[in-house]
Symmetry: D2
């Protein structure tokens, strides 16, 4: 298992769903950044379970800064963050190592780790570990904010409801004011109806999150292997339930002509901008200065209330499975701050590589 | 610029479009693999320019093995591959550093490297460097073939022509027997018509390449940061013109319900398989043993014959641009073996990490 | 600050001397290793302060396994270890950021981190962090023990007292039965006299630790950049107070002739051994199967009770300095288990690279 | 085999002693550095074989810059350097895979790579590959020179002849003006006598190279795992025949008292210097601004003309061995520019990590 992200702003994750907690060590954070547990808590609260429409699991998710901060500022030394697990009901998951849940990592994890993996609540495979990514991302976001960089995220599509014309302002204003994290209040209501229907049906739904990173300076990204797309893509494809990532027009670019897709150059305030932003803010893997726009596709939650048929790996017989425990009808709803965190971690990492953030902040 | 791929089967690229040539050093290849320049040449010939419908540039693309092979077998030492450039017409590109081509890396490269970048034919940003990736991938493919692993690739979609029901056998048989690399001969003809129209119009088209990796054993992939999706995704998003990557159902999974998307488990020959393969061969970032299926979206070629308007960065005035030089109307056609190479490099890297390929071959 | 060790058995450190504690995350430990906090505690107790002749600071040094172990065995997921700080007297160190201690990192740390570094007890520069290295090393040692590998360490030289003829058996039996960690009881007494004199004089002494790794199979080590020497050397030179590392004859080899230094080959039980072991167990950076023998030079403890003259960086005037706080008269005494830990971490890392330890233990 | 050096200024080596040549790809070199083949050739000529007292092998060692330089300046893209082998006499080495040379990597290489390694002239294990390191180091030296950094090196000790009082000026003036690379002309003569005797006797001698890096700014080095000592140490211990590395007082520090070893702080021109430099230019793994001083111990050349007894691995019988081929009586003599190159590569790497060298040079 590899839970190490980044090259210059490095995040090493650890923890399990039903163990003592989850945490991470961040290496490479510049010295001199004002940082409190409250800064991180704000971000963590955005993904906290127990909100409307998501899993009823109640976690306080209180983050502790265990190292790397002194007199309210980062020191340049590794920062250890830790979040205790509280509301753990291991008994709900007891049988899963024999009767694997379709769509889950139960079988592949058991195979890879010789059955030694902690299978309770998916153990180290659980989306619970993304709490530590959001915590690390909160630090990255704070670094970026100093440079005027803003990261917007929202659920652009849920099942068949899709928003195509959200403005930055609409995302900024609305995404965190409705439980489906949608920039368009009307679409948000339609999404809620789909979720209500799915819940009633014991089923789950997939979704697409769109993320926009505003005001990143041009010249960020190390083509090819550390291009903006490679780094954001790699980080997002590491998240549970993610099945695709696209930039700018993405897969739609395959249906376009060059004369449509090419963004024309204009001069603006002495710099160069593009008239359109089909490219999504990068050319040759390097930022253009235009917003970085990308979308992440999430599959429907694997754990559904509906009875499923699966294989009992001990008896080698098919049997009925009713997955107990607590689950989100759509993992993407809680994933918006997670995708934003991955964007922040990616951009900070690349800005440090490009020396666009100093090692000591003044 | 970062041209370093992989953790255990490492590929370091170098070279330029209009310089002396392109090459790479491969570190971590197991000892004892029979390897000739012919083995690599076979793969290189698949992406060679000068074939129907692609750029008229003529390159012999003769690969030389400069180190790491002794008496016909790999030694365990780094392998240096080199391909000379022959058919270089630098004069066609002379003016591009002043009048950047829309959709190209001209502006971002000049900005990032202070104008010191080799701008001739995009220099180190050129798709020409993918020749070295294909060469490295040829070695990876040979390693995988010993274990029965096969990598299929084809153009699944070109503009509005899409093939949704290609069998493995159809891809194996047809993809390299028509110039558009399509598994379906009928669709291939429609694709050719679209290309003819685009060429006539001085325009270019986007496309989607599908890749299938067959017979990868279960248990490969290091969740999360080195998951199958992260590694393949990162490698493919490093390629020029790529705007998206998806696995299994990909973005379509966002429109599905959990009860549809979950793949049911079955027993087969003592092992576990899934009835369907919506997941595309991975769960929790680890291979299931089912085919790994992914798709890569390519934008339309940025260089088009059509006159475009762009900014002269010296005069700060808009001016007309006619891009000369030699270009593919659809970069994806030549990219099929490149995507296959990235798949091979990714899987070998992960199999070495999982100790599924020994360091010395018998 | 970079506290990340290893490529396949990765250790990421965090913590401070006078903060909440010290810890680490270990990534890459094979699944299935029986592991308790007691296993780690045994090793930690060997470096515990408060023993004779070392600093009177009293730390319980109780390690907690926070993740990565389930039902008594490692799971393959990252292992987070944490040790709380208890006996912290920050007030002793208050003034050091203005009046730097000669021989300490006070000045360089303040310079590098813009004065944001935690200077209390040297903060993240403190030898206290080696507790986390010893904890990680305890896991590595347990992995190696399963393969019959043993790591011996002792203080070979303290100031002018040197032991040149210690047998493996003498080290095994005596090193941890006297407070100076010396394999020779008679020399141990002489070393103690030197320390008593130094303490009386308010001074400190340097020393050399010798380490022997027995029964490592041949073929371990990745020449050149990950040679046995490079990896052990890099890890040991990362430790506080270390000024040199040598292998086999080391610097004495410079005074030898080839005909003396070359180790003759012999056959033994079907394998190849060498008659002598001047090379110290490696040739070409790869293990020969003979004991790996290396020595690490430690400078005398920088913190001495004697009054020193130093620069007040605020007033820019020379002033007298009496370093308070609690210090070892010879850091090397407590460093024996630390050097053994670095040897264990190095060898496990290289054995995993060479596929000599499986990813799942049976 | 791992021939990859550095984290930000990365050097990937390839090649063999008796293959087509040796080379490397350098990734991470800032853009805008004026660079010609002549710049590199100057450094290469310093280690060229065929000089007095070293192996009679004649190599032109003409370096070719194959990529990464455009219009006389580095572009920011990877730089591929290649040096053809010319004077190759493979037949001299034919039998060595059966009758291993004592002190060489013949046995360990064959064991590790299953006998597939190129054994001619030690193949990829040959010191010939250090030509590529010197070539890469030449670029690093040029980068450092712009910042006023100078790297001095000389043979401080050869067998029993040792120079302890060489000034920087003496090294600068004398080291490359006598064939034993010694700073002291008188000692140089004594060293030559030792070498003459050894040659007459068919034997070889060990030596110590001292290296001093002047004018490195304070604040360079990432404690702990990328401390100045760890990085230089790791790079030097990767070289053939090296058995030890020490910094400042090194092993002699073990015999010193704290009150002797601690370097007192003084003010100088508004900055902080130390009265002495026992530490060798680093505290806490970070540069102090004082000269970085380190020494590297080389064992005597393993290949000697004297008849040796060894094991025939095929017949399992002891037999007499006369090593033919061409060899240096003391490898260290040619290693002075190599150690200087490793110092340059290490310091550039750490300065880039510390953002003390920009990514684009003006």
């Amino acid at each position: 298992m590899n839970q190490h992200y980044g090259k210059t702003f490095e995040v090493q994750l650890a923890g399990e769903s039903h163990g003592l907690g989850v945490g991470c060590i961040i290496q490479g954070c510049p010295a001199g950044l004002p940082l409190t547990e409250g800064d991180i808590q704000n971000e963590l609260d955005k993904r906290k379970p127990g909100q409307t429409l998501t899993t009823p699991r109640k976690e306080e998710d209180k983050v502790q800064i265990k190292s790397g901060v002194f007199e309210g500022k980062t020191t340049g030394a590794p920062i250890l963050l830790w979040i205790d697990n509280h509301d753990v009901q291991s008994q709900s998951y007891g049988k899963l190592n024999e009767v694997p849940r379709p769509g889950h990592a139960d079988v592949t994890a058991a195979e890879k780790y010789g059955g030694f993996n902690d299978y309770r609540g998916s153990g180290a495979f659980s989306a619970r570990l993304t709490a530590a990514l959001v915590a690390a991302g909160a630090i990255a976001k704070k670094l970026l904010k100093r440079q005027g960089i803003e990261i917007l995220g929202h659920v652009q599509q849920l099942h068949d409801v899709k928003v195509t014309d959200a403005t930055d302002e609409a995302i900024r204003k609305n995404a965190y004011s409705n439980p489906v994290r949608c920039a368009d209040p009307k679409a948000a209501k339609a999404m809620q109806r789909r979720l209500d229907e799915a819940l009633l049906d014991g089923d789950s739904l997939g979704a697409v999150i769109e993320c926009r990173v505003l005001n990143v300076p041009s010249g960020v990204g190390e083509p090819r292997a550390q291009s903006v797309e490679s780094v954001i893509g790699s980080n997002c494809l590491a998240l549970p339930a993610v099945k695709g990532v696209e930039f700018g027009e993405g897969f739609a670019a395959a249906t376009m002509k060059g004369s449509q897709h090419n963004d024309a150059y204009l001069e603006q305030d002495g710099g160069i901008v593009t008239k359109t932003n089909h490219a999504g803010g990068t050319l040759g893997g390097i930022t253009t200065g235009m917003p970085i726009v990308f979308r992440v596709a999430f599959k429907p939650t694997s754990s559904i209330a509906k009875t499923q048929t699966t294989l009992n790996v001990a008896t080698k017989k098919q049997e009925k499975l009713n997955v107990g425990g607590r689950h989100d009808p759509c993992v993407a709803l809680r994933a918006v701050p997670i995708v934003q965190a991955m964007a922040a971690l990616s951009i900070v990492d690349l800005m440090l590589q490009a020396q666009k953030i100093p090692r000591v902040l003044k």
